[in-house]
């Protein structure tokens, strides 16, 4: 089980375009502190950018929680994107490459999932959406990727 140190959790608001770049900067800084390689940093920051924009555009705003994880000597970073917007009715459809209800490429959710080690999505129509991703510092064997 991953050890969560609540003292290491910080919350970043997602309310505007300017907040999106603050989210990216925070994730990049924390990933660099955990000695993530450049490729891993770039992937995680890009995934965060996608998920934070969804929180803003579809969720109507919310926040990101960023937590450092210790796991048998390996460090990881856990990011949660939380909103209390409309939620997603059909998660499987939303996770399909190219599916969009806006005018995007429809690659945010499915692409973000490919960029991280662990991906969970918790959503219910009318109750909001929480997407949580984890990336481990070293290249661990591909962890199970659960979609709820």
């Amino acid at each position: 089980m991953a050890a969560r140190d609540p003292a290491m959790t910080i919350r970043v608001p997602i309310r505007s375009d300017a907040d999106l770049s603050w989210v990216r900067q925070q994730v990049r800084r924390r990933a660099a502190e955990l000695a993530f390689g450049l490729v891993q940093q770039t992937k995680l920051v890009t995934a965060a950018s996608e998920l934070a924009r969804n929180t803003l555009v579809y969720g109507g705003g919310g926040h990101m929680e960023i937590t450092s994880l210790g796991h048998g000597g390996t460090d990881g970073l856990c990011l949660s994107f939380v909103d209390d917007g409309p939620g997603i009715r059909d998660v499987r459809l939303a996770m399909t490459d190219g599916y969009t209800t806006g005018d995007g490429l429809g690659l945010g959710l499915s692409g973000a999932r490919r960029l991280v080690d662990e991906f969970t999505i918790d959503t219910e129509p009318g109750r909001g959406t929480a997407v949580t991703v984890i990336t481990w510092a070293a290249d661990l064997p591909v962890a199970e990727r659960a979609v709820r």
């Binding site: 770049s21 990216r24 490729v39 890009t46 950018s49 996608e50 995007g104 490919r114």
Partner: protein, 294 residues
């Protein structure tokens, strides 16, 4: 002023109004020498005195309505602009909003001194009430000034952001018929709109056949940035120019692929130099090192 309204105003506030009106000239003379006024109205002292008088008048109006604590009191409207330009010029010389607030607070003692002198017995109820009202009123003036200072700051930031958008997206004429845009920082929707417009404009004015979009300075290429790039490329094509995207870093390339973005239709080169070489070659322009003669 309606009488009924007048009557609801506490007698101490009415007394304060009377005092401010009567002592207008003396107060203005004292204020005209403090830095807040003196350093703004540099041309003549008379000008500073006039500015001080309009602030005293505004305070008298506010006191007469009894709304001593209300920063929205209509009396302040007449001086809001003046206070804004004063705090603006103070902040331009490097004063923080906190320092400006201190300067406004420093206006109070000289008025308080004049007010105290009005009462034969400084311990009398009217005297302490009057001073208390004055303190409240001057505190409100401080808030109003702070408010104008802060909103001036917000305007400045918005204006600078807009300027930055334009400054940060220069279209460079690299060669006859070849223009380049070095993109730096975040490519949000507002910025990519600016990029698109200035690029299409310069395709016309520079008669460009080749356009190089260099993204070396863009730290994150996500699906939105990629979409903006593809739209720009498509628009340039419609204008008759070929687009080359350069400066995609190795980590970015891997990320784009895993994200699932297909940049297959976009011509890419590793560096700006490679992109330029490509454009030159396709215009049949030969650039080679001159053979050394000796």
């Amino acid at each position: 002023m309606q009488l009924s309204e007048q009557e609801t105003v506490a007698s101490s506030a009415r007394a304060l109004t009377g005092f401010l009106t009567r002592r207008r000239e003396q107060i203005a003379q004292r204020w005209a020498d403090v830095p807040l006024f003196r350093s703004v109205f540099t041309v003549s002292r008379d000008e500073a005195v006039e500015a001080c008088k309009s602030v005293v008048d505004a305070l008298a109006v506010v006191a007469s309505t009894g709304r001593l604590e209300d920063i929205e009191a209509p009396g302040f409207d007449t001086v809001r602009e003046q206070l804004g330009s004063m705090s603006g010029s103070r902040s331009r010389i490097g004063l923080s909003p906190a320092r400006i607030a201190e300067e406004v607070a420093a206006l109070r003692p000289s008025v308080a001194e004049l007010l105290r002198a009005e009462f034969p017995d400084p311990a009398a109820t009217e005297a302490t009430e009057g001073l208390l009202d004055l303190t409240i009123l001057m505190g409100t003036l401080r808030l109003v000034t702070m408010q104008t200072a802060l909103s001036a700051g917000e305007e400045l930031i918005a204006r600078q952001r807009q300027q930055l958008h334009e400054v940060a997206t220069p279209v460079i004429n690299l060669w006859e018929g070849i223009v380049a845009v070095p993109l730096i920082g975040t490519l949000d929707s507002a910025r990519s709109q600016v990029v698109m417009e200035s690029l299409l404009q310069s395709i016309v004015t520079q008669r460009a056949r080749y356009v190089i979009l260099d993204i070396t300075g863009v730290p994150t290429v996500d699906s939105l940035v990629a979409q903006h790039l593809m739209k720009t490329v498509a628009a340039a094509r419609l204008m008759g120019a070929d687009c080359v995207v350069s400066g995609i870093r190795p980590a970015t390339a891997q990320t784009i692929v895993q994200l699932g973005i297909d940049l297959g239709s976009v011509l890419t080169r590793a560096s700006l130099a490679d992109a330029l070489a490509y454009a030159l070659r396709h215009q049949d322009i030969d650039v080679s090192a001159r053979a050394s003669l000796r």
